[in-house]
């Protein structure tokens, strides 16, 4: 097709892309209200939502574990990643480049490599697989995202702001707490959000480092998909999509930092 009319081609592509993204999700939503167990419409019902909310204790237990890991991993990753980003930005080190590359490495490695190396590493040092090993793995792959978000924010404002603080008599500690941290607050929030999302979402790495009794939500979903599809998963999908949308609305202010990656 020749894009004669202004934007016709791009309009079409955007609609195709959006349809591609949303049709599957809409179909899932539609069938989550289906009374039948199969993918044939047999009348509306909230049956699967009832099953999800009232009769799926294992699922909610796995959700609780996911939340626990997401909270702890995102807190620790944000702490370590932010301090590191500030340190590397603020001071001149000879090893600056080495540390930066090392920090960004998890972004470049395929997830499966991370998963396999963690599994072998944990078994080598004798750390039992479980919630703690998942926490370590998640923190490690969240740190580079925190680092990037924070560095982008630090790059955004002029270094002379920090010099101004020194000039006005501030000690290093005051500069950190009264100038740098407040200026970086949106980036810190974005880091927490991004880390928590990544942690909640991760399947592959968790798959390798999880042990008995540490089934997270993605692992639970995986086993649901793998071993006998129950329409409960349709209802769960809708709940998760709606939850995601709500979080996205609440945090749209932070998109700018999340996207920079």
């Amino acid at each position: 097709m020749s894009p004669q009319k202004r934007g016709l081609f791009t309009w079409t592509m955007v609609l195709v892309t959006l349809a591609f993204f949303y049709l599957p999700l809409l179909l899932l939503t539609f069938f989550s209200f289906n009374h039948s167990k199969s993918m044939v419409w047999e009348g509306a019902s909230f049956r699967w939502y009832a099953a999800l909310f009232l009769h799926s204790p294992d699922l909610w237990a796995s959700f609780g574990k996911s939340i626990m890991i997401a909270l702890s991993a995102s807190l620790v990753a944000t702490l370590i990643g932010s301090l590191g980003a500030i340190g590397l930005y603020w001071y001149a080190f000879k090893s600056k480049r080495v540390i930066t590359v090392l920090t960004l490495l998890p972004l470049l490695l395929p997830e499966i490599i991370m998963g396999v190396s963690f599994l072998i590493f944990f078994s080598k040092i004798g750390l039992p697989l479980g919630l703690f090993s998942i926490f370590i793995a998640h923190t490690t792959f969240c740190i580079p995202y925190v680092f990037l978000i924070m560095t982008a924010r630090l790059d955004e404002f002029d270094y002379s702001v920090i010099e101004a603080a020194y000039d006005l008599g501030a000690q290093e500690w005051v500069v950190l707490t009264n100038v740098i941290l407040p200026i970086c607050r949106p980036a810190i929030m974005a880091s927490l959000l991004m880390s928590a999302t990544l942690s909640l979402e991760d399947f592959v790495i968790t798959f390798f480092v999880a042990g008995p009794g540490s089934t997270t939500l993605p692992l639970y979903i995986y086993s649901m998909i793998r071993f006998g599809v129950s329409p409960v998963i349709n209802a769960l999908s809708v709940v998760l999509i709606v939850g995601t949308a709500i979080i996205a609305v609440l945090t749209s202010r932070l998109f700018k930092y999340v996207i920079q990656k």
């Binding site: 955007v14 899932l28 080190f93 490599i113 290093e172």
Partner: protein
């Protein structure tokens, strides 16, 4: 400035990444040179056995297969992402469009895969409909083939292509396109000769963000693929957990890592090269 207190800031980061990232990667590398243990694990004996095992047509086929599937998926993603990102960047409602891309992006990865299983599976929506209206007697095998792997890869990683392209195109000075039109270029020429070279770095980072996860994929082929669409990630997992040949698993991991780093180098070098300016014919 003063660098002594600087170490306090970077110490946790360096320690964490050194102990919990570098050490595991080092261990996996060293395992690939060890002899296989009797009941899984390794014995302390240096050998190239794992790499010799790797040197076989079977693994070469898996490697090429992985390259092909992830390559095709990446090309499709870029081709879809450029016009979409361009449209978003020129729109007055950027936040709305971003929003519409971010929601599927943040929706659980497995749910996104599952959506296609629900649609294309043997008991999925399409097959059930076709059976109902009587066009077919047997469910079609729409899933568990290389095409479905590509489809789902595109579905799951497309936002990774759109977002970096969007942020690059957003910084593009659109009046350059008008200047090109003014100088006699057609709309397509203006796009191809002015926009594309200017957003080259965005295209390469999109390539990177799509290709690396697709190339090292495990979950998608495991859920919607069959033995023909096995990728290296699946072989690594199989050797690790089922065959329990850890050195071989480590050797494939090493190979996958090297291939990824190679792709990364090519993309980074290509992406950072200044765009050549060609006159418009």
């Amino acid at each position: 400035m003063k660098s002594r207190s600087g170490y306090a800031y970077i110490a946790p980061l360096s320690l964490w990444m050194g102990l919990l990232l570098l050490a595991p990667i080092g261990i996996i590398l060293s395992y690939s040179f060890l002899k296989r243990g009797l009941y899984g694990g390794v014995s302390n004996q240096i050998t190239l056995e794992a790499y010799q095992q790797l040197w076989s047509p079977l693994y070469a086929k898996v490697f090429l297969n992985t390259l092909l599937l992830s390559g095709i998926a990446t090309v499709i993603m870029i081709l879809m992402a450029i016009p979409t990102a361009y449209f978003m960047a020129r729109s007055k409602r950027k936040t709305l469009w971003l929003f519409l891309i971010i929601i599927p992006f943040w929706t659980n990865f497995l749910i996104r895969i599952y959506a296609w299983i629900a649609i294309l599976g043997n008991n999925g929506i399409v097959n059930q409909c076709l059976l109902r209206v009587g066009w077919i007697d047997q469910p079609l095998r729409l899933l568990y083939n290389p095409l479905s792997v590509i489809l789902v890869l595109v579905y799951t990683y497309l936002p990774f292509a759109i977002l970096p392209l969007f942020s690059t195109i957003e910084k593009f000075d659109f009046s350059l396109l008008e200047a090109a039109r003014d100088l006699g270029a057609t709309r397509f020429q203006a796009f191809y000769k002015v926009l594309i070279p200017a957003i080259k770095s965005g295209i390469f980072s999109a390539l990177l963000f799509c290709f690396i996860p697709a190339f090292g994929q495990y979950a998608v082929p495991a859920l919607v693929g069959d033995s023909r669409s096995y990728m290296m990630g699946n072989i690594i997992a199989r050797e690790l957990t089922i065959t329990r040949n850890w050195p071989l698993s480590a050797a494939i991991s090493t190979l996958l890592t090297l291939a990824t780093l190679f792709a990364l180098m090519v993309f980074v070098i290509q992406g950072s090269r200044p765009a050549r300016v060609k006159p418009i014919e």
